[in-house]
Structure formats: structure tokens, C-alpha cells
């Protein structure tokens, strides 16, 4: 599987480690709601089809990515950086998104 890292380009999945389902809503760190945390930690759906996942480019730029792919066909639709760098695309003429 190849992952289109917005920083490094199309790279082999062996350079990444997976961080699991990116659609899960993680409560804020100061949210003491045990049930919401339990859902975020333990509840996992097993979706068929389009799915978003966290992948960490550990042997590359070390950015955390959100990769959209299909769990049935394994097709990778695209990837964006997580968090403040979400709009960044290497080589794209942009006014540098990310932390100021």
C-alpha cells in the first residue's frame, strides 16, 4: 500500500505506523466524562468501505496523517496532515498554513 504523504510524497506503507480510526471523537483531556472516554477508547466500528485513519510517518517526516482509504478494496483516496498543518501540501504554492 502506498500513502501519499503531503510532505514526502507517495511513500510505502512500511514507513508508517497506524494510529487507528480517525473518525472517533476524542474528548478533551480535561473532560472527565468517563462514558465518553470509554466510548473513545473501546468502541470500534468495523466499517466496510470508506474510512479515515491516523497514520504516523515514523520513518519520514514524523507527521501524523489522516489517511482516507477503503477497507474493502484497500484503495487509498488521499491523506492530509493532522492538526494545525492540515492544509499543507509539499510543493503547493500556498501561504504556509500551520502554526504561526
Amino acid at each position: 500500500m502506498l500513502i501519499p504523504c503531503p510532505v514526502c510524497g507517495l511513500r510505502d506503507s512500511g514507513e508508517f505506523t497506524t494510529g487507528g480510526d480517525a473518525s472517533i471523537v476524542r474528548p478533551a483531556f480535561d473532560d472527565g466524562d468517563e462514558a465518553a472516554w470509554a466510548a473513545a477508547v473501546y468502541d470500534r466500528s468495523n466499517p466496510l468501505g470508506a474510512h479515515e485513519e491516523y497514520w504516523h510517518h515514523v520513518h519520514g517526516c514524523r507527521h501524523w496523517l489522516i489517511v482516507a482509504r477503503d477497507t474493502q478494496t484497500h484503495a487509498v483516496f488521499g491523506a492530509r496532515l493532522a492538526g494545525a498543518w492540515a492544509g499543507y501540501q509539499s510543493g503547493a504554492p500556498s501561504d504556509k498554513p500551520g502554526p504561526d
Binding site: T17, Y54, H56, T73, A84
Partner: protein
């Protein structure tokens, strides 16, 4: 003696280069370019193997990777390779080849007696029979049965050869170098696209060798030569011979193994390829299909096309009195071609009324007798074909009629039509679909970016195969944005006829066995048995009979088995369908998969800057993750235990040093660094003064303990975090996740410094005196550098960072410097410490010292324990929020009934084993249930007893109880006293002094 070398022919052999190899001790002579099979055939060897289950005599059946029978073991000692197809393996000078599955010899095989028992040995026999008389009886029988059946045996010696991994990136990967693949590669290569053309054979050309056409004025061999020559000079084209593509994976990744020719000692033995292609052209061709009849596995029965390939490639004839059994026009052309080389074709047997007239004319002229409307009902002979039994065939009723006639013959060549090779297409596509033109299956719709060309799509005729290769090649490169050049070619005098009568099996009521899958000894009757017992779906048929599961992946057997099942079911073959084909299509050696990652290259080895010193000092090194750390520095005559007790005593009595360079070190910087650390640690770091360190605990989201370590505040906005050796990478990834996903607003930068800093811990009552001698710019008095204080100083010219930390419970410091100066720091401390008898100590002493203090490491923080379990509640801030807090507070994790940390003291003077279970029963046979387990242990010189840390149900409430540490695997069951986890200096006066 059936086969022999012809005077002429043999485009692949060099008759000027004679080579000799050994087969079962006998010298076989061949020529450079021969396969083992062609040389054996030329020498007249008929029987070359014994079959898997019934030990039936078997000979060479094919000329390619479909070979089910002629498997041998090649090489000797450590280079022994079992189950090699003689049809694929090239002969080389001095090669040692041995037959398999025969004892005492191939000719007189004791195991062949199993053939007499064959009425009882049908599919599923063993599993049905050997189930009793008691539970587990199968375990008793299995090794004996497995020994009787089987293939070659692998060597137990380490493989001395080298294997490589290679990556092939290209615009177009063409799999299969027959006429269609060559045409596709030419079309793609001429456009400038990056092309890789792969073929499993030693030479390109595929089945074009079977056709007598001329292409652009050359014979087929000449056309192949010029196509390969053109491709070879194109800089954008790579040609890979001897490379079997065995798997088609997601994202247009394909895998293959390349066998390097023998003789080049510098080359690897095999190269594993991982292809990444934008587009793939599958041109995997078709393989000739046998017909199932009684005795169809007798040595001397061979595929017709294979016999012609042996003539054309190697100048080898299959026999002197040849009979042909075929159901299609192409077979008549091939028979005619054989006759033209001077081979005597005694008879041709065809269930149809007539063959194609032009070839019939040639055959008639050569004296061949035609038995049209006939079929072969049996091959007679046993160890070699001696006669062919034929009978009239009613093609409308599909059965044999009339009496049998026997034709004396030493060789029976069979052609049941051609089976497209759909394996790779099926791996990356929808199920194959039935094609009536070939009576077999062709590729379904692609699921990856591939297109199929040539015979694998049912286009068996040479001209249509080349045409489709060019077409698909052009379309493919156009789709990738390349300019394809127009291509023309002229084929003259090709074998155009495609007349074909589907015929898969000649049913027989006689005693002879009719084999469908010869490699796994699956008979036509086994397919019928499977159906009677309810296993009629292809996936069930496969698993029940093991059909198609051998190393040849059913290349010659799948379609015949499905046809027999379809006939039994009274359904069309199309409805029965195929199994799903899965990788690997060809066997892959472990060597190729492993590549260079073996022995000391198994994984990267990480060494500290002081590593060489440790080794020179005679330390026993131990792996901690990828790191190598000293375990003990044994002196002559010392056991491991003697050594660590001496080292631990030295720390308690004077001073010792230990290498802590492996600890994870992360530089945390930025205006929000303090806020960030407050969120990831259970305790507070924003209140930590500059120049102080604090021990911190990190939880996972689920509230369980993840890691611990000290973090030092270097400036207002900069911290140095240390992690455990094993978790350094994991902690870094977790921190990066927090910043990327949870708190993108925090201004914090993280840098791993683990390998940039070397570290030494100095522990013991004389630690202060020692450091005062060697480090300048720091006042080491308790007031100036209190417990947990952090200072910068100098060791000679080297900048150092010093923190007063203690893991051992003694007065202790950690000193860090740039990795390049680690050895200087280490040796300077040792030299200056001579007056204090400064002792280097390893992990074992470190372990015993920390167990005495009740300090936990990953043995206790094993991912299943929380702060509450390990008595670390004091570290759990109630004033602030942090990762994992809500889940750590849930009732299940704070339940007092959980297993919690305790100390144990051995009451019988024997070691307490880590992993032992804590039970109440004193009798090893009546232990009662486990109430906990021992996590770490050692001999404590301070307590003068074996002590341990353990996790025990309601542990803190049970101090003073006597329990038993049960280790039934080692036969240990010793009494232990439960106590507080801290055995030594509980008020900490020593480290605070």
C-alpha cells in the same frame, strides 16, 4: 530407455559445452543450457521421482513450472534444496541431484506398498480412521503417517547463501515474456515508458516455440531473439529472466523471486523483488491441459507441447515409439512438427472425427495411424509406458464404447487443450469466467490497474496473441500519457485452427488409477468421493482432497477437477466456478523472504558509546529491545549471581557506575512546554523550578500506566524528558500525536536526543566524593545540589549535565555528556574512582538494587497495571487534568481486590522465579487458584535473602502472610513471606544524605 538426444535442434543448448552432474549417484551428461529434466530425458531416465502419497513411479510430465511429478532435491549439506522442479532448474557442472520420497531406492521403494492399500487411502482416510481409540490418538499416529507421505526434506543446517531484496519501480510491469508479453513490452518500451518485463523461465519466448509460423520474415525463435535484443538496448526497459511473480497485492504491488544462475559466487542465490507499477500487463499465457485416464501418471506419459519444447529447446526426443492423444487441432500441428524432426509418431488418437488436413497429410506421410473417434482408456506399464489402451468413443454420449485395443508404445503425449493462467489475475480481480473456446477459465474484471493480453485471455493462436499484446501495450502507455508509436507486424503460415472438443476425463471401471492432481496424488475417484460426502463446492473440494494445494498450485489439475465435479453435478463448469486463487503462485523460499535480515542483521543493533569498553571488560551483554547493555561484569570464577551481588554490595558500601545512555531522552521546548507536560504526566511540571528534576508517570488514554521517567527543567521553556529504554520511540510518537491531534494550539517542539547524549549513573556513599574530584563548576554539597537538583558543569573540556537522581536508593547522580565523550566520561570516573574501589555494575545489580527499594519498571508496568496497583497514588494529581485521568479513576481500576504490588521474601533460601504464581496450597499437587504472580526477583545482599516484587490480590492488606510461589514447569513450589515492597532504607535517608 525412452528419451534420447537428437542429432540436431536444441536452440537453448550449447553442444560444445558438456556438463556432468549426479542423479542418485549416477553421472548424467548434458549440455550447457539443459534443465535437469532435459538432461535426464536425454540420458533415457524415465522414472525420476516417487509420488507424495502412494509412492507411484513418476517421470517428467511437462517442460515448465506446471511440472507436478519430477521434483528432486538438489545440492548437499547446508545447500540442500528440496522439491525443486527439474523442468525449471538448470543443470550445472557437478550438481548433486537426489530423488525424493523413496527408500531404499527409487527403483525399489518400500513405500510403494502403500499403493496396495490404496483402496483404503482415499481422501480423508487418515482423519476418518486415526481418530481413536483415545483422545489425542491422532497425535500419536500423525508423525508416522507424515513420514510415509511426503516430499523432500529440508536441511537443518544454516543456509550459507546470500539473498537480496530488490525494488522495481516502473510505469508498466509486463508479467510473462511469451509472444503477447514481448509485444506488449515492445509497444510500451518504444513509447519511452519505464518498463519491466518479467518471465519465470531462463529465456523469453513462452509457447511461441510450439508454432511453425514466420513473423516479419523470421521463425518464431528469430522473432523472439530480435524482440529481446531491441528491448535490451532500450534504457527504459529492464528484462528479468528466471523471475517468478508469485503475488499480486493491493496498490499494484507485485512480488516475485529471481533465481540467479549457478556459477557466480559473488551473486546472491535468489533475489526477492517487490514491484510497484503504475500499470500492469498480465501476459501469463496458458498451459497445456492433460486428460485424466487410468495410468495417466505412468513415466512416459507427457504433455504434447512439452515434448515439442524438448525437441526445439534442447534437441531431446521423448521416445522412439510415440503415441499422441489429443482433442484439438493445435495438437495435430505439434504432432506433425514432431514427425518432421524424425520422431516416429505411431498413432494419433482423437475423439473427434478428423484433425486438420494439412497436418494430417504430414502425419499420414510419416506413417502415423489415425484413430479418430477413439480415446485412450489406459496407459500400461507401471514404471514405464509399454502400451496404450484405446477404445472407441461416442462423443455425443460422452462415453467409451466398443472393445479395447492396445498399441505398443514407449511414450504417450497428451493434449487436452490449453488452460489460461488466471492465478495472478484472480488474486487482483473478480472471479475468473468460463470461456468455451478453451474449455477453461479466463480472467475476470480487474480490481487493480492491470490489463490481460494473449493466451491467458483465451487468444491461443500466435497471431492473435501478438496482436493483443501490442494493443494492450499501446492502450496502457496511452493511458499513462505516453505517445505510443504505431506498430505493424506480419505473421505468415501460422497454426490458425482452434478446433477443440472439450474432453477432461475418460471414465474407467478398471483397476488403474486416474490422477487429477499428480503432485498431491488426488484421483478422479477422490473428486467423486468428495461430492458424495457433501464437499462439492470448489473451496470444499480443494480442502477435502488437498487438490491444487501442492507446490504447483494445481496448474495441471484445477480445470479437470472442476470439470469432473461439474459432470457429476450435472451442471455446466461455468456454474461450478473456481476457488479464489491466492499467493504464492510459485513456491517462495524463506531465504528470499528474509533477505539480509538474518543472523546479526536480523534487526539493527544499538550500542552505547561505552560498548567496546564493556565488551573488553568481559561484560555479559544482553539485548534490551535493540540496545545492547551490560548484564554483569563477571570476574574469573564468578557466576552471574556472584557478580551482581558483588556489584550491588559495592554500590551500597562505596560507589559504582553504570551506563544509562540507553534511556530515552526527549528535548521538549517552547512557550507551552510546561502546559504540555502537565497534560501528559499524572503529576505537575509547571511548578517545577528551573534546575530541578521530577519523577513523572504517563498514562495511556485507557488509564493504565504507560511509562515513567524523570524530566528536568533546564530553562523556563525547555525540559529534558527521560523515558524508559524500551518505550523511547513509543513515548515520542504519543507526544507527537498529542500535539498534532489533541492540542494543535500548543507551541511545543519535540526532538529526540536519545543517541546524542551518553549517560552514566554514579551511585553509592562515595558518589559525591568521586564527582567532586572530576567535575568542575558544580558545588556538590547537599545544600548547593540537593536531591533532584540539576546543574551544568565541566569534565575537563567536556560540558556535562548533572542531576542528583537515585534509582538504587543510595546517594546518586546521573551525568550526561555528548555521545562522543561518553567513553571519556566513563573512564575518567573509573580512574578517579580507584581510591573508592569504584565498581562498574550491570543490569542485574541495577535490578536487585531497585527491587530492594521497591522501584517498579516495565516488569511491573506491563500495560495491565495502573497507579493504584503499584502504590503510586501520590503521583496522581487531583488538582489538574491529564491524559488518562478519567479512565484511571473508574471503579474497575481502583478496586481494592485488584492485584497490587507487594514484596516477597523467600523462606526456604531458594530463588523465587519471576512468572511464578502465588498460591495458598503448600502441596504442589493441590496449589489452589492463582492469586497473583511474581514480576521480578533477585538476591538481596542488604536483606541477605532472595526477594521479589509481585502483584497479589489485595496485596497491601496481606503483609505477613505466607504463600507459595508455584512454578510447576520448573518443579518449584517454595514458601514466601508477603511484605512491603520496599526492603531497604524505607525513609530514604541514604539518598537524601
Amino acid at each position: 530407455m525412452a528419451g534420447y538426444r537428437l542429432a540436431g535442434g536444441g536452440g537453448r543448448v550449447d553442444r560444445s559445452k558438456v556438463l556432468r552432474f549426479r542423479f542418485d549417484g549416477e553421472t548424467i551428461t548434458g549440455f550447457a543450457g539443459d534443465t535437469i529434466a532435459s538432461a535426464l530425458l536425454a540420458s533415457g531416465r524415465l522414472m525420476v521421482a516417487r509420488s507424495f502419497k502412494y509412492h507411484r513411479p513418476r517421470g517428467v510430465f511437462s517442460a515448465g513450472s506446471e511440472e507436478p511429478n519430477a521434483l528432486v532435491t538438489i545440492g548437499e549439506a547446508a545447500r540442500t534444496t528440496p522439491n525443486v522442479q527439474t523442468t525449471m532448474a538448470e543443470a550445472s557442472e557437478g550438481l548433486v541431484v537426489r530423488s525424493q520420497n523413496a527408500w531404499p531406492s527409487l527403483n525399489n521403494d518400500f513405500g510403494a506398498l502403500t499403493g496396495l492399500l490404496s483402496p483404503f487411502l482415499a481422501a480423508g482416510f487418515y482423519y476418518k480412521t486415526f481418530i481413536g481409540p483415545f483422545r489425542g490418538a491422532w497425535m500419536l499416529y500423525e508423525p508416522i503417517i507424515r513420514r510415509a507421505a511426503g516430499m523432500g526434506a529440508a536441511t537443518r543446517e544454516p543456509d550459507p547463501d546470500r539473498y537480496e531484496h530488490a525494488h522495481g519501480f516502473c510505469d508498466v510491469l509486463v508479467v510473462g515474456g511469451g509472444p503477447a508479453g514481448l509485444a506488449a513490452a515492445l509497444a510500451a518500451g518504444r513509447s519511452g515508458a519505464r518498463v519491466i518485463l518479467v518471465d519465470e523461465n531462463a529465456e523469453f519466448g513462452g509457447a511461441s516455440v510450439l508454432d511453425t509460423a514466420t513473423i516479419d520474415g523470421s521463425d518464431t525463435a528469430g522473432w523472439v531473439r530480435s524482440a529481446v535484443a531491441e528491448l535490451a538496448v532500450l534504457q527504459n526497459v529492464r528484462l528479468l529472466r528466471r523471475t517468478a511473480v508469485y503475488g499480486y497485492y493491493d496498490g499494484n504491488v507485485l512480488a516475485g523471486t529471481e533465481r540467479l544462475p549457478a556459477g557466480d559466487a559473488a551473486a546472491p542465490r535468489e533475489r526477492h523483488w517487490r514491484f510497484q507499477a503504475r500499470q500492469v500487463i498480465l501476459a501469463t499465457g496458458a498451459m497445456e491441459r492433460p486428460i485424466v485416464f487410468a495410468g495417466n501418471d505412468t513415466p512416459g506419459v507427457m504433455l504434447l507441447g512439452a515434448a515439442l519444447a524438448y525437441v526445439r529447446h534442447y534437441g531431446v526426443a521423448a521416445g522412439r515409439a510415440v503415441t499422441v492423444f489429443a482433442n484439438n487441432d493445435a495438437a495435430w500441428h505439434q504432432a506433425a512438427a514432431l514427425a518432421e524432426t524424425g520422431i516416429t509418431i505411431k498413432a494419433i488418437i482423437d475423439p473427434r472425427d478428423a484433425g486438420p488436413e494439412d497436418s494430417a497429410k504430414t502425419l499420414r506421410a510419416a506413417g502415423t495411424v489415425f484413430y479418430t473417434g477413439h480415446v485412450v482408456t489406459a496407459a500400461e506399464g507401471g514404471k514405464a509406458v509399454s502400451g496404450v489402451v484405446i477404445a472407441q468413443f461416442d462423443s455425443t454420449a460422452g462415453n467409451v464404447s466398443g472393445g479395447a485395443t492396445t498399441i505398443d508404445s514407449d511414450s504417450l503425449l497428451v493434449s487436452g487443450g490449453w488452460t489460461p493462467n488466471v492465478n495472478l489475475a484472480s488474486q487482483a480481480g473478480e472471479p475468473p469466467v468460463f470461456d468455451s473456446g478453451t474449455g477453461a477459465f479466463i480472467p475476470g474484471t480487474p480490481r487493480e490497474a492491470w490489463a490481460a493480453a494473449g493466451a491467458m485471455t483465451g487468444k491461443l493462436a500466435l497471431q492473435s496473441a501478438i496482436e493483443s499484446g501490442f494493443e494492450v501495450g499501446v492502450e496502457t502507455v496511452k493511458s499513462l500519457g505516453f505517445n505510443a508509436l504505431p506498430t505493424t507486424f506480419t505473421v505468415e503460415n501460422p497454426n490458425q485452427e482452434v478446433g477443440f472438443l472439450p474432453l477432461y476425463e475418460i471414465p474407467s471401471n478398471g483397476p488403474g488409477k486416474a490422477f487429477v492432481d499428480m503432485q498431491h496424488d488426488v484421483k478422479a475417484s477422490d473428486v467423486r468421493l468428495a461430492r458424495r460426502e457433501g464437499f462439492s463446492a470448489p473451496e470444499h473440494l480443494k480442502r477435502y482432497t488437498t487438490l491444487g494445494m501442492a507446490a504447483d498450485q494445481g496448474r495441471t489439475s484445477n480445470v479437470n477437477a472442476l470439470a469432473i465435479m461439474a459432470a457429476e453435478e450435472g451442471r455446466p463448469i461455468a456454474e461450478v466456478g473456481t476457488t479464489r486463487f491466492r499467493p504464492p503462485y510459485s513456491p517462495v523460499t524463506f531465504g528470499a523472504i528474509v533477505g539480509r535480515a538474518t543472523g546479526k542483521h536480523f534487526q539493527p543493533v544499538r550500542r552505547t558509546p561505552m560498548h567496546d569498553w564493556h565488551e573488553k571488560a568481559g561484560a555479559d551483554m544482553i539485548n534490551v529491545g535493540q540496545w545492547q547493555r551490560p548484564r554483569v561484569y563477571r570476574r574469573p570464577g564468578e557466576s552471574v549471581e556472584d557478580a551482581y551481588i558483588r556489584e550491588a554490595r559495592a554500590v551500597r558500601n562505596s560507589v559504582g557506575i553504570t551506563d544509562v545512555s540507553t534511556l530515552g531522552k526527549i528535548d521538549v521546548q517552547g512557550p507551552d512546554a510546561a502546559t504540555f507536560l502537565d497534560r501528559v504526566y499524572t503529576n505537575t511540571f509547571s511548578t517545577l523550578p528551573v534546575g530541578k528534576a521530577r519523577y513523572g508517570l504517563m498514562l495511556r488514554d485507557d488509564g493504565f500506566l504507560y511509562d515513567d521517567g524523570t524530566t528536568w527543567r533546564l530553562t523556563e521553556t525547555r525540559y529534558l524528558m527521560t523515558t524508559t529504554t524500551g518505550n523511547a520511540a513509543g513515548v515520542m510518537a504519543l507526544l507527537e500525536f498529542g500535539l498534532a491531534v489533541d492540542w494543535p494550539d500548543l507551541k511545543v517542539a519535540l526532538t529526540s536526543l536519545t543517541e546524542q547524549w551518553a549517560g552514566v549513573a554514579i551511585a553509592g556513599p562515595q558518589a559525591r566524593a568521586l564527582l567532586t574530584k572530576v567535575i568542575t563548576d558544580i558545588d556538590f554539597s547537599d545544600k548547593a545540589l540537593p536531591f533532584m537538583g540539576v546543574r551544568t558543569g565541566r569534565l575537563g573540556d567536556v560540558d556535562v549535565l548533572v542531576s542528583r537522581l537515585s534509582f538504587s536508593g543510595e546517594l546518586a547522580y546521573e551525568v550526561y555528556c555528548g555521545a562522543d565523550f561518553g567513553l571519556v566520561l566513563w573512564t575518567t570516573l573509573l580512574e578517579a574512582g580507584e581510591e573508592f574501589d569504584c565498581t562498574p555494575y550491570g543490569l542485574e545489580a541495577l535490578g536487585t538494587l531497585r527491587i530492594e527499594k521497591g522501584h517498579v519498571i516495565h516488569d511491573e508496568m506491563d500495560g495491565r497495571t495502573g497507579v493504584h496497583d503499584l502504590g503510586l497514588e501520590k503521583m496522581f494529581s487531583k488538582k489538574k487534568d491529564f491524559v488518562g485521568k478519567p479512565m484511571a479513576l473508574r471503579a474497575a481500576l481502583t478496586d481494592p481486590g485488584r492485584k497490587r504490588l507487594v514484596g516477597l521474601k523467600s523462606l526456604d533460601g531458594k530463588p523465587i522465579r519471576a512468572g511464578a504464581q502465588l498460591v495458598t496450597g503448600s502441596d504442589p499437587n493441590l496449589p489452589g487458584g492463582s492469586q497473583g504472580q511474581v514480576t521480578s526477583m533477585g538476591y538481596s545482599p542488604a536483606v541477605e535473602a532472595y526477594i521479589a516484587l509481585a502483584l497479589l490480590e489485595r496485596g497491601p492488606e496481606r503483609h505477613g502472610e505466607t504463600l507459595y510461589a508455584a512454578d510447576p514447569v520448573r518443579g518449584l513450589h517454595g514458601p514466601v513471606k508477603v511484605c512491603a515492597p520496599c526492603f531497604y532504607d524505607p525513609d530514604g535517608s541514604r539518598m537524601h544524605g
